[in-house]
Every structure is written in C-alpha cells, then in structure tokens.
C-alpha cells in the first residue's frame, strides 16, 4: 500500500469512499508521521487518542451511510481555534492550560462534517508574526531546506499548520489570516492557502487578534483540497454578527479548468523597487500561463498600495490592544500575584509574565494610537486610508475578474534573520496586507522554486465573496505550473 500521508484531501476522501482504507488507518499513518517529524515542532498539542476515537466514530458513521464532506479526513487545527476540552493556547504563555468549555464554529462545522483532529498546530503568539518565531512553545522549522542546510522559518502566523501539511503530518490544516497569516506561510512551505472573504467563515471561538481583519481559511496540498475544506468551514453563524448571511456555494464545482475570456489584473504598484529578480520572473511566468490558458491580462492600478503596511500596523495593534485587554489574570489564563498586591499590580504582573515581546509591543502601539491626543492623528487617519485602499480594489474590480501578484517578497528565510527590528519583519506582509484591509479573498499557491530550491507562491485576489473565481483561476494556474517539488528536509 502506498504511504497514506502522501494523499491529497480529495484522494483520501475518494479512497475512503471506495473502502480502500479506513479513517483509522489514515489517521494512524498521520500520527506516525507526526511522531517522525516532531523535530519540526509543528504541533503544540498532539491529540492522538482523540484522533483515533474520532476516526473510529467516523468509520462507524460511514458504515451507516452517513458520510459528511470531510468524513474521516485527519487534519491539524491551528491552536487559535477553541476546541472543547483540548488545551488552546494561541501560542501564548498567558493561555497555557486553558481548556475551552466550547467548540469554535469553524471546528464544529469541520467535525460535524466528519473531520478528525490530529492536534493543535503551533503559530506565532496570538497570531502576531510572519515567521513563527514568537511562539511561547518554540519555533516551528520549515520542512524545506536551502542549499546551506540551515533551519528556515515556515512563515507565520499559521506556521505550524503550513509545516504540518508540507511535511505530510496532516492532510490539511485550518489557518487564520489577519494580514497574510495563511497565504505567506503557504508560500514559504510550498502549499496552498486560502483566506476567504471577511465574513465567509465565522470568527466565533477563534482567539481574537484584530476583529475587523481576522478570517479563518484552509491550508491544503492542492487548490481542489482548499475548495473542499472551505465548503465545510464556511457558513453563516448567528454567534458572529459579521458573518455573512449567505449560502455556501459548491466551491469544488467552480474548478472547471476553463478561464477563457476572463480578465486578470496585474497591479503595477506591486512591482516594488528592489523586488528580487526571481520573484519578478515567477510573476511574469504566472501571467504567461494564464494568458496561454485563454485569459486576458490587463494592467490595473492600486495607487494606495504603499500605504497598506502602515495602515495595517496601526489598525491591527489598535484592535489587538482592545481584544487582549481580556487577559486579566482573573477569569482564565495565568495569574501572577504576590502577597498584598493590588488589583493593578496583579494585572500588570500577569500580563508582563504572560505576553511575549512582540505581543507587548503591539498592545502598546495599539494603546498609544488609541490614546487621547493621538487617536485622530493615527487611528482615525489609518481608517481613512483604509477606505482609500478598499476603493482602489473596488475600482480595479470594475474591469477585471481577479488580480494576480506574488504572495511574499522572498522565499523562506533562516530562523533568526529579520529579528531585532520589528519593522523589517513586518515587510514580509507587503503583498498580503492590502487584500486583508479590503476584506477580499486571497489564494496563494506554489508555482516555482527559488535559486535556493525553495518554494515561491503567487496569489490571486478576488472580489468580495467570489472565492469561486479565485479557485477556478487558481486551479488553472496550478495545472500549468505543475509544482511537484517536495521538501528536501523531510528525510531523516
């Protein structure tokens, strides 16, 4: 029998349906792979017993002819989703030991559809980061290696999810994306990542970072897999007032392979000064592939692109400072208190001990830009620029169906690089942040290798609630690029 961990989600679904193997066999194969690749630190909490129990229940359900969309498929859950009775940390010390009494809507949807949870995947602390080096539970290592063999970052914040999928430690994984946290790690690890439209998936039960930006999505081996998994994750939820009261389309049916006559926009402002030659070439190659498939390529302008990062690094920390006020050492999480301490002392000690450096920085920046005297100059100004960025996209989508751009300005970098200067780290998100600010769907897929032999991704940005076009074009690009490389760091 072939190694069951090499399967795509779609192949495993079909194999289970045919009875080629059981969910228990599929799950056991992945648990073995998790054990073999523990050095990558992709999981914070492994849940093998729960996985086997869920797989058995799934096999029993299938025997009764009640198979759901994700029936029997073992996946990783980013440790930002609350999972009932299973430790949920957000990769922070402050939530160490926290066991939610409820299930997030997205995981509830997946489990109701038959998915099996292998464990909780590592991430940057509170999803704040682009390298997965801010987790309290240690760095995640990218299964890919460059020529010098150094350990590389998997990207972030969904770095554990990306590494787990790339190293065959899960058929797929959930991620969340606030400024690029699904797409950038997907690009660094050579997998597919889809950030849906804001409102497509419920945010209920996901540890909040920046509520006007956070959105859950699938991280998978193929575009088809992303379509399947999104169909299970998405849907209206009365518990999230920003979740869209819309029917969930059959995303897989969008993969027709036909993009003839479609208009693909190429935003000239994304061709930034100093863009590495190989990123530029990757992009040009992608354009050529889509043109060859019959699409029409059109230049578009998104004039406020250069202000997106600045806008993001005001809006996201502002919302984070407010969201993270809930970690007060009282109701859940870590408490640090000495004899005779006041309430303020307890707050300040608990939060100093519980939050890591980057999280503290962002809370303070957010507090500052919201404070009296600075609110208008920073926060309100950023919200106005955010509207300009939103309008840029609306204008561009007046003449094109989807936009093609690189996902990230580079391939994965070495662990330790870009540390020490927060702003340098932020620049990794330059191509992903604009779509986040506008709430648009974005799909990253691997289309080429760097000179170091590392995966590079292109991203398709779509109109609001038009994941179907993004998936359709993504499917065509995937076939044309025929990206078959596998991580070199997987042996041993």
């Amino acid at each position: 029998m072939t190694d069951l961990t090499n399967l795509t989600l779609a192949e495993a679904r079909d194999g289970l349906a045919k009875g080629d193997y059981t969910s228990v066999e599929l799950t056991e194969a992945h648990l073995k792979s998790m054990e073999a690749h523990r050095n990558l630190n992709a999981y914070i909490t492994e849940t093998p017993e729960k996985a086997i129990e869920m797989a058995k229940a799934s096999d029993a359900k299938r025997a009764k002819g009640e198979a759901g969309k994700m029936e029997g498929l073992p996946i990783a859950i980013k440790d930002l989703f609350c999972t009932e009775g299973v430790q949920t940390t957000a990769a922070s010390h402050i939530l160490e030991g926290f066991k939610p009494e409820y299930e997030s809507t997205v995981t509830r949807n997946l489990f109701d559809n038959g998915a099996v949870m292998l464990g909780k995947a590592n991430l940057d602390e509170f999803a704040m980061g682009s390298s997965n080096t801010s987790s309290y539970y240690g760095n995640v290592i990218n299964p890919w290696k460059g020529k010098d063999g150094k350990d590389l970052v998997p990207g972030g914040s969904s770095g554990g999810s990306a590494a787990a999928v790339a190293a065959n430690m899960a058929l797929a994984a959930t991620g969340t994306d606030t400024g690029g946290s699904i797409r950038q790690p997907a690009s660094y690890c050579g997998i597919v990542g889809l950030k849906p439209t804001y409102g497509r998936c419920s945010r209920w039960g996901i540890v909040a970072f920046a509520s006007s930006l956070d959105q859950a999505g699938p991280m998978t081996k193929t575009v088809r897999d992303a379509a399947i998994m999104l169909g299970s994750m998405a849907g209206h939820d009365a518990k999230d007032s920003t979740s869209a009261p819309m029917a969930v389309p059959d995303f897989e049916a969008a993969l027709t392979g036909d993009i003839r006559g479609m208009k693909i926009g190429i935003p000239k402002e994304y061709r930034v000064d100093g863009m590495p030659e190989e990123i530029s070439k990757l992009w040009d190659d992608g354009v050529a592939m889509l043109r060859y498939a019959g699409a029409e390529v059109v230049d578009v302008s998104l004039p406020h692109t250069k202000y997106a990062l600045g806008t993001y690094y005001i809006v996201a920390p502002a919302e984070a400072s407010s969201n993270l006020a809930r970690y007060d050492g009282l109701r859940y999480g870590q408490r640090v208190m000495d004899e005779g301490d006041s309430l303020d002392d307890m707050y300040m000690k608990s939060r100093a001990a519980g939050f890591g450096k980057e999280v503290q920085r962002r809370i303070m920046i957010g507090t500052y830009v919201l404070s009296a005297g600075y609110y208008d100059a920073y926060y309100n100004k950023a919200l106005k620029v955010r509207r300009r960025i939103y309008e840029d996209f609306a204008n561009a989508f007046g003449s094109v169906d989807t936009i093609l751009a690189p996902t990230a300005p580079s391939a994965a970098f070495a662990i330790g690089e870009n540390e020490g200067d927060p702003v340098k780290m932020y620049l990794n998100d330059v191509f992903t942040v604009p779509a986040s600010l506008a709430g648009l769907p974005g799909l990253s897929l691997p289309t080429g290798l760097s000179s170091e032999g590392l995966p590079l991704g292109l991203q398709l940005i779509g109109k609001p609630f038009d994941e179907e076009t993004v998936l359709r074009v993504g499917g065509v690009l995937e076939s044309a690029a025929n990206f078959t490389a596998k991580p070199s760091g997987l042996e041993g």
């Binding site: 926290f98 066991k99 939610p100 009494e101 409820y102 804001y198 409102g199 006007s212 009365a238 007032s241 920003t242 869209a244 009261p245 406020h304 250069k306 202000y307 600045g310 806008t311 690094y313 005001i314 400072s321 007060d328 009282l330 109701r331 859940y332 999480g333 870590q334 408490r335 208190m337 309430l343 303020d344 307890m346 300040m348 939060r351 100093a352 939050f355 503290q360 920085r361 809370i363 303070m364 507090t367 500052y368 404070s371 100059a377 309100n380 100004k381 950023a382 919200l383 106005k384 620029v385 955010r386 509207r387 939103y390 200067d421 927060p422 702003v423 932020y426 600010l437 709430g439 609001p464």
Partner: protein
C-alpha cells in the same frame, strides 16, 4: 511628532497594564519609535472628504429578540479561573 521618550512609554505601559522594567522602557522606546516612524508616511495621504472605514462587512448589524438564550453554566464559566470561591472569581482586595 513620534519620538517617544521613556516617560511616555511608562505611561503607555501603565495604560496597557503591563509591567516593564527600567531597561525595558528604553528598549521599547526605541522599538515603538521605529514603528511610529514607519507609519508616519500615512500623513502624506490626502483623505479629504473620506469617511473612516471601520468594517468591510457590508452589513447592518442584525437584531434579535431580547431574551435569555443561555445560562446556568456556572461551573463552565469558572472552570478555567485561576482562583474561585463559592461560585465567584476571586480578585485582590479593592475596597479598604
């Protein structure tokens, strides 16, 4: 406008309810100033007549009946608390 001194950082740290050591204050002053310098470029954008965009969700907030739909889960609410007593969260003394 955006070079932060130690005293300002001390005030922000207190507003954020995060204990920061003296050395920490200087390091943070540097980091936060770098970040504020970086976002300074927004000042050059013309936003005349532009309304702030607070949400991209093009929705009117839904209303529901004002009725109790949940409750009687005291144990669940308290299950993750660091300190509880008689069905309550325990906080340090706040009233003399």
């Amino acid at each position: 406008m955006s070079s932060l001194d130690k005293e300002t950082v001390r005030r922000i740290a207190y507003l954020s309810r995060i204990n920061v050591s003296e050395e920490g204050l200087s390091e943070l002053a540097g980091d936060l100033t770098r970040i504020l310098d970086f976002v300074e470029e927004l000042q050059e954008v013309d936003v005349e007549g532009c309304d702030p965009l607070t949400s991209v969700a093009d929705l009117t907030l839904p209303l529901r009946k004002d009725e109790v739909t949940d409750g009687n889960i005291q144990q669940k609410v308290l299950s993750n608390a660091p300190m509880t007593d008689a069905g309550c969260f325990v906080v340090p003394k706040v009233v003399e």
